[in-house]
Amino acid sequence: MAVDQQLKIELGKQGVFVTTIEELYNWGRKNSVWPMQFGLACCAIEMIATTMARYDLARFGAEVFRPSPRQADLMIISGTVTKKMAPQVVRLYNQMAEPRYVIAMGACAISGGPFKQGYNVLKGIDRYIPVDVHIPGCPPRPEALIQAFMTLQKKIDGQPLTGEKRPRHLNPEAQGEFPVPEQGAHDLEPTSNSGVWPIPVIIR
């Protein structure tokens, strides 16, 4: 049940704040998303530049970058995920506590990027873990990362507490552990996680 905006503003002028639990809950969550200090390649340098003095990410709530996955809410996959590193990325994602979000930063994290024809390059991290925001670019500018952060905040704002579209951490039947791929003789086994990444059918 949404609150009428005019009424809200009128009451607010009197010092009475009317809101729903959902808005309050999401407001608290979206303004203190703590990223994990997880940089893989060149995009990590732009991520570091985003946290530096010129493009300050801390004013959006990402105050501290936690090194430990147990304490982080957001994993920014910045850089190429190689097949050697992929099991580690999935393991780190599994270790993060819900609610957790993933931003795939850069072309390499979305689909393999310029290194797509690589025997060691994983063609997109969304083969194994669910991704919330994709940022194209090689590397994306710090402003693009801030835009992605704001998009994520909007997404968190729109998550309902009950019903079909509720987030994973409020849904006891949702999948929490994503299977970690094994490093086989020629490639990773399995090559993708069909629950997360349904292979689109192309009609040629």
């Binding site: 200090q37 997880f38 940089g39 893989l40 390649a41 060149c42 990590a44 340098i45 732009e46 570091i48 530049a49 530096m52 003095a53 010129r54 090194p67 850089g79 190429t80 190689t82 050697k84 590193m85 580690q88 780190l92 310029p114 290194f115 024809q117 690589g118 025997y119 060691n120 390059v121 090689c138 590397p139 500018r141 490093q183």
Partner: protein
């Protein structure tokens, strides 16, 4: 499956790592530092065996960022590999471009006009300054300074990246050098902003040194740690500031006389002890020497073309043969080895990565030290994973 680090490396020799016996009883603690670790410069793993806090064995594990750049280059043309060289040492994309352009120019005997050489030197020295500043910033962050020197370094870096963006179109992946010159010309406005940046650099380096060089925490944590003897450094193929901090006078700008470095008067700083503090000081002094070169280059830059008009860009098919070209990149000796077989794609394209080869002696430097010093020594080697793993 992580293999245990009990590899049979008990080979004796003057250039082998020293064999250290644990003095306590009980088992060694085997820790994998990385690939996700707040203090590694990217995805890099070190398997260490610890006796309490002392490091008994250290084996680095590479390959977490192996993006098979060399295999891709065998399938693309020479010019199309230029953007991939940006992504090798992603801090210093312009020097990577120059090294590759130099190797191809050596292969075909391509001449470069004078103004282009000046522009190359200006951009390379600006790259060197921002790389050394960032390295020192990361080193102090790993010592626990929580980002303050890094913020100062990145403040200067942003100014230099603004110039790169105005000139080449991109902050980091510049893709600017071509075989026979540069892509676009530096206009008077670009040169003016370069002069403004260079005018502000001595003040920044003074501020940096006042903050760090006589800081007692930095001196206590860096002096006497991670010593590297000069004979071992030469034998192990170490290059760059790490080699010069051990006292070896080998700067490729002076040895190979590539580009027009002969026209500039600059000194090569050398260290006495080969420890972490010497590497830090060599980098600071190299920043000052780069400012000297920049002032001279910006004063003398002539007018003229920036690209050889006879250079073949489309349909570039070098004759069969091979060439090895190298430059003094900020991290060390960056070399490209090309074998051409007359087709538009190279037959063999090899990058000689300074960061990987500087890590050959990581074990030698860290054995016997405490595990907290491993992080500091590793930070002083100054690696970038894009170059180590390519």
């Amino acid at each position: 499956m992580t293999p245990s680090i009990a590899h049979p490396d008990r080979v004796e020799g003057w250039n082998r790592p020293p064999i250290i016996e644990p003095d306590g009883e009980g088992e060694l603690l085997e820790v994998a530092m990385g690939p996700h670790h707040p203090s590694t410069h990217g995805v890099f793993r070190m398997d260490v065996a610890l006796d309490g806090e002392r490091v008994i064995r250290l084996k680095p594990v590479f390959g977490y960022l192996h993006r098979n750049h060399e295999k891709i280059a065998e399938g693309t043309s020479y010019l199309a590999s230029m953007p991939y060289t940006d992504r090798l040492d992603y801090f210093c994309s312009l020097t990577n471009n120059w090294a590759y352009a130099l190797a191809v120019e050596k292969l075909v005997g391509q001449q470069v006009p004078e103004r282009a050489e000046y522009i190359r030197v200006i951009l390379a020295e600006l790259t060197r300054i921002q790389n050394h500043a960032s390295t020192i910033g990361f080193l102090t962050q790993e010592m626990g300074a929580s980002g303050t020197p890094l913020m100062y370094a990145f403040r200067e870096r942003e100014k230099i990246l603004d110039l790169f963006e105005q000139l080449t179109g991109s902050r980091m992946m510049c893709n600017y050098m071509r075989f026979g010159g540069c892509r676009v010309d530096m206009s008077a406005a670009h040169l003016d902003s370069a002069r403004k940046i260079v005018a502000g650099l001595p003040g920044f380096i003074d501020e940096f040194e006042a903050l760090l060089s006589t800081n007692e925490i930095l001196m206590a944590r860096c002096q006497g740690i991670g010593k590297l003897k000069p004979e071992l450094a030469i034998n192990a193929g170490v290059s760059g500031p790490m080699l010069r901090a051990s006292g070896v006078d080998y700067d490729i700008r002076k040895v190979d006389h590539y580009g027009i470095y002969d026209r500039f008067k600059f000194r090569v700083p050398l260290g006495d002890h080969g420890d972490v503090y010497d590497r830090y000081m060599v980098r600071v002094l190299e920043m000052r020497e780069s400012v000297t070169i920049l002032e001279q280059a910006l004063k003398d830059i002539p007018a003229g073309p920036i690209m050889d008009p006879k250079a073949k860009i489309r349909g570039f098919r070098p004759k069969p043969g091979e060439a090895y070209g190298r430059i003094e990149a900020p991290k060390g000796e960056l070399g490209f080895y090309l074998i051409s077989d007359g087709t538009p794609n190279p037959y063999r394209y090899r990058v000689r990565p300074p960061s990987l080869i500087n890590l050959t002696v990581l074990e030698d430097m860290c054995l016997g030290e405490s595990v907290a010093d491993v992080v500091v020594i590793f930070g002083s080697v100054d690696i970038v994973l894009g170059e180590v793993d390519r």
